[in-house]
Each structure stands twice: as C-alpha cells, then as structure tokens.
C-alpha cells in the first residue's frame, strides 16, 4: 500500500512539474535550470539521516553518509547562491543603476 501511495505522489509531482515549467521564456532558462538543480539537492535530507544514524550504524555507512552530506550541501548551497547571483543581474530598463 505504501508503494502505491508513493507512486501516486510521484505521478502527481511529475505532472505538476510539467505544468509549472512549460512556457517559461528562454531568458530565464539558465537560472531556472540551476535553481531546479539546487532543489534536486533535496537528497541532502536522506544524506543527513544516513550520516546521523549514530554508533549503531556500521562505519562504512556513516562514511558514505558524510560524503553524501558534503556533496549534497555543495549542491544546495552553491546552487541557490549561484542562481541568486545570476538573477541579481537580470534587470529591466528602469531598474538600472
């Protein structure tokens, strides 16, 4: 039952993603991509659970978890900051200076 429930969530999220992104102007393609990429760093949540599992967890699992946390944190922090930096440059006439 759990699998069916998760599958339904997957289906709806994919449709929602299609709806949200279609008809986005080309001007914004790069920030959109890097912003979406930062969201894919959500895997950090899973990495935190792996790295914080405590002493009961095998060494290797903790080690893999820490690497995953570092990777995903770079993805999240770097992704959001770089997107913000790019979007800060997008200006319309009149906003200038």
């Amino acid at each position: 039952m759990e699998a069916i429930f998760l599958g339904l969530i997957l289906l709806l999220s994919i449709f929602l993603g299609f709806e949200l992104i279609s008809k986005v102007p080309a001007t914004i393609h790069t920030p959109l991509m890097s912003g979406a990429n930062a969201i894919s760093g959500i895997t950090l949540v899973g990495a935190l659970l792996a790295a914080g599992a405590g002493a009961a967890s095998p060494r290797l699992a903790i080690l893999l978890g820490v690497i995953a946390v570092a990777f995903a944190t770079i993805n999240v922090v770097g992704g959001y900051l770089v997107t913000d930096r790019m979007l800060g440059m997008f200006k319309k006439r009149g906003d200038k200076g």
């Binding site: 102007p25 990429n37 950090l44 995903a72």
Partner: protein
C-alpha cells in the same frame, strides 16, 4: 509516531515552498523571489529532518555540512559568469553522486524487494549523472576536447555495458546486500555508462546534455526517496526531473532533432553538405561603424564565440552608444546559442543589458526584413540559411535566426573556419553580408572608439 507526523507535516510545507518557488522562477520579474522561496523550502525540510529522533549523532553531519558550505559558498562567489555551464554541470554531478550514496546506505537497513529495486535505480541514475556530469564539466571547461568522440564499435561497446549492467542489477535484486559484488559492479558500470553516454556528444549539443543531466539528478533524488521511504525526496526530485525534461525537449526542438538523435549520433558525420562557392566581402571596423551610425535599427545575434571572446561587456557598450544615437537596438537569442540553455541571456544580463531587449528567435524572425543591420557575433550554425534551403545539410530543418533577410549583415568572425557542425555557411557569401574579421572583442572595441571620434 508523533515524530514521524511532524516531520511529514514540515515536508508538506517545504513542498509548497518548492512548488511556489518554481512557479515564480518561471518569470524574469519574480524569479529571484522564487529562488528564495525554494531555498526557504529547503531550509524547512533540512531543519525538520535534523530535529527528528532518527538523528542520533551530530558530529559527522557537522563535518559534512561544514565541508559542503565552505566549498559551495566559495564556488558560487568566485566563479566567472562565462564558466557557468561547467559550474552547473558540477552541481548536477554532486547531486547525483549524493543520491547514489544515499541509496547505497539504505542497504545497511532492512532490505526487501521494493527497497532493493529502488536502490538499484538510485545508484544507476545517480552514478550516470555523476560521471556524465564529470565528462560534461571536462568538455565545457575544455579540460578534455569538446568535439564529439566517436569510435567504431561504439554502439556495440555501449550495448555490452548496458546488458552487463542489467544482468548485474537483476542478480543484485535477487540477493541484495550492502557488500554484494553485484552492487559494486552496478556502481562501476553505471559510472562507465555515464561516461560513454556523454563522450560522443559535441560542444554545440551541450545544452541538451546539461538539461538532461539536470533532469537525471532530480530523478536520482526521487529514486533515493523511494529507497528510504521519504516523501519530500520523491516530490522535489520528480519536480526537478519533470522540469529538466521539459527544458531538454525545448532544446531538442530548437535543433529540430529528436532526443535519441542527439544522444546516439555524432553530429555532422552522416551527410556531406553542398559546398558553397562565392566571394566574401570583408569590411573594416571603420566602415562598419559608419553603416551602424546610419542605421535606424540594429539586431545583435550572439553565439558561443561571444562567450569565448568575453565580448559581452563591449557589446553592451556599443549597444548603448547606438541607442543614444537614436538607433533601435535589440539582441536576438537563439535557444541553443552557447553551451547551456539561456547561456547568452546570462552573459548579456551580466553586461547590464535589459532583459526586455533580449528577443527570442520566434519573435525576431518575422521582423528581421525590416532591420537595417544584423550583427552576428561568434554565431555560425544558428544563423546558417542552409538549414532552410539545402536538404543535404546536416542541420537541414533546424530553425535559425534569419539574419540573411536583414538589409545588411555583419559577421564578426576570427577566420573563415566553419562552425561546430563543420559545414559551410552560405550566409558568409551573401551579397548583403560583410565580414569583419578578427577577435570579436577587439573588433567591437575599435568600433566603439571609431564611434566616439
């Protein structure tokens, strides 16, 4: 139980922030706020997870987060805008790598058939994203050649890898363990497949690859979410997967090619285009400036060459000079100009060009015949009229910016060498075309100084 409930409630809030964030991110005027919304969503998801009673030991987390923050902040602050495509590739790859590891760690808990299958998926997609992005980074930063690497028997080798991968994946699922030799084989083969998938793709097709890898990094997170039974990973991951897929599609359409065609065929290998003979008309920067001064409308058409020459700042300066002279200035952007979706827009935004001056291909084409001068800066294939006329051309059918219909065309180009696709461009021989040879930045700079005198 209470713990589980509050975390999932927080995840719902986070998901709402992601959805609103993506929606706002789709419009230039609200995009920055959208990015902030999505960052808040991320923060909520992370804090809720950290407060969970499943987190028993903070030391390792702090270590990982500290490393990640230092590198992430430094990278995002120091990177030059021209290096943005490879930066995005790196972030993509790290996200994919993290999902691979999260899937792997899930094997240390209780593993049933469902978990085993989803772990394999997260490792497969995550591994391909990781190594594929590494190659993409290498190609974009020119650390390795950006040309398509094609060798005979490539399809055979790739099929063999794929079959071996599927076999190992099935063997693993039948008897899942965190130290199964089949697991290591799947990880290795997935990474190998990612490498093999990206090496035959040339520089000009990179926008497709980057957005596809972006889609994969989302799907990898989604698969990892199934493996560890975490809803927010599934929601956020599939949103990104869908968004990346749409962008990939837009890029393919802009090249009039199907996704399999981009992924599985080295470009330009198949057909020999009709050769073009004719006379080129060179022009000096001095004369070009005189014509620009007299023009009432000018459209600049930038391509990857503008990024290479770092000519966006001088271009903007020239544009402003022309505007103060009463000329109507616009910038016509082809969807696949450059090395990633929207590459030119970011560079021009960096140079302070207002985004309402950036005109999309479909909007500029109908009125190009009324434009006095179209100035092509380091673009080639995206303005090649052979795509309309020459059925033998490898790019036949690709929508282009029809600069040849403008009254006069200037082409800023270093030499007569052909573009990425390795095909002749009849535009250069057109009677209304004037070639301004030399480095784009130098040429534009000398036009600016001519203009000022």
């Amino acid at each position: 139980m209470l713990d589980h409930l509050y975390i999932n409630a927080a995840y719902i809030v986070a998901a709402a922030f992601f959805i609103f964030g993506l929606k706002l991110l789709g419009k230039p005027a609200t995009a920055r706020k959208g990015n902030l919304f999505s960052a808040v969503g991320m923060l909520i998801a992370i804090i809720a997870t950290l407060l969970s009673n499943q987190i028993l030991d903070w030391n390792w987390i702090l270590l990982g987060v500290a490393i990640g923050i230092v590198i992430g902040v430094a990278a995002s602050r120091l990177i030059a805008m021209t290096a943005m495509p490879e930066m995005v590739a790196v972030f993509n790859g790290l996200g994919g790598g993290a999902s691979l590891l999260v899937g792997w760690v899930a094997l240390f808990g209780t593993v049933n058939l469902f978990v085993a299958i989803t772990v394999v998926l997260s490792i497969l997609i995550g591994g391909m994203t990781f190594s594929g992005s590494a190659i993409a980074w290498g190609k974009l930063s020119e650390t390795i050649t950006s040309r398509a690497l094609v060798f005979s028997g490539q399809r055979f080798v790739n099929s063999a890898i794929l079959i071996a991968l599927i076999t190992c994946a099935v063997m693993f699922v039948l008897e899942p363990a965190h130290n199964s030799p089949y697991l290591y084989a799947v990880i290795g083969l997935a990474c190998l497949l990612g490498i093999m998938a990206v090496i035959p793709i040339g520089g000009a097709d990179m926008p497709v690859v980057i957005s596809l890898l972006n889609s994969y990094s989302g799907l990898a997170a989604c698969a990892a979410g199934f493996a560890i039974n975490n809803v927010i990973l599934i929601v956020a991951g599939s949103l990104v997967g869908a968004a990346g897929f749409i962008l990939t599609n837009v890029m393919c359409k802009a090249m009039n090619r199907s996704l399999p065609n981009v992924l599985f065929s080295g470009f330009g290998a198949a057909k020999a285009a009709t050769e073009v003979d004719g006379e080129v008309h060179p022009i000096s920067a001095e004369d070009a400036t005189l014509i620009l001064e007299a023009a009432s409308s000018v459209a600049f058409v930038p391509g990857y060459g503008m990024a290479v020459a770092q000519a966006q700042h001088v271009l903007c300066e020239l544009g402003e000079l022309l505007e103060s002279n009463g000329t109507e200035v616009s910038y016509a952007i082809h969807p696949v100009a450059g090395r990633m979706p929207g590459h030119m827009n970011v560079l021009l935004a960096e140079a302070n060009v207002s985004y309402d001056q950036l005109i999309e291909m479909d909007d500029i084409n109908p009125r190009l015949d009324s434009i006095d001068v179209a100035v092509v800066i380091g673009a080639n294939d995206v303005v090649n009229p052979a795509s309309r006329t020459d059925e033998n051309s490898p790019i036949y059918g690709m929508p282009i910016i029809n600069v040849d219909q403008a009254k006069t065309v200037f082409v800023l180009k270093r030499t007569m060498a052909s573009g990425f696709a390795g095909i002749d461009n009849p535009l250069f021989f057109g009677s209304n075309t004037r070639m301004l040879f030399g480095d784009a930045k130098t040429s534009i700079s000398s036009m600016i100084s001519e203009f000022k005198t």
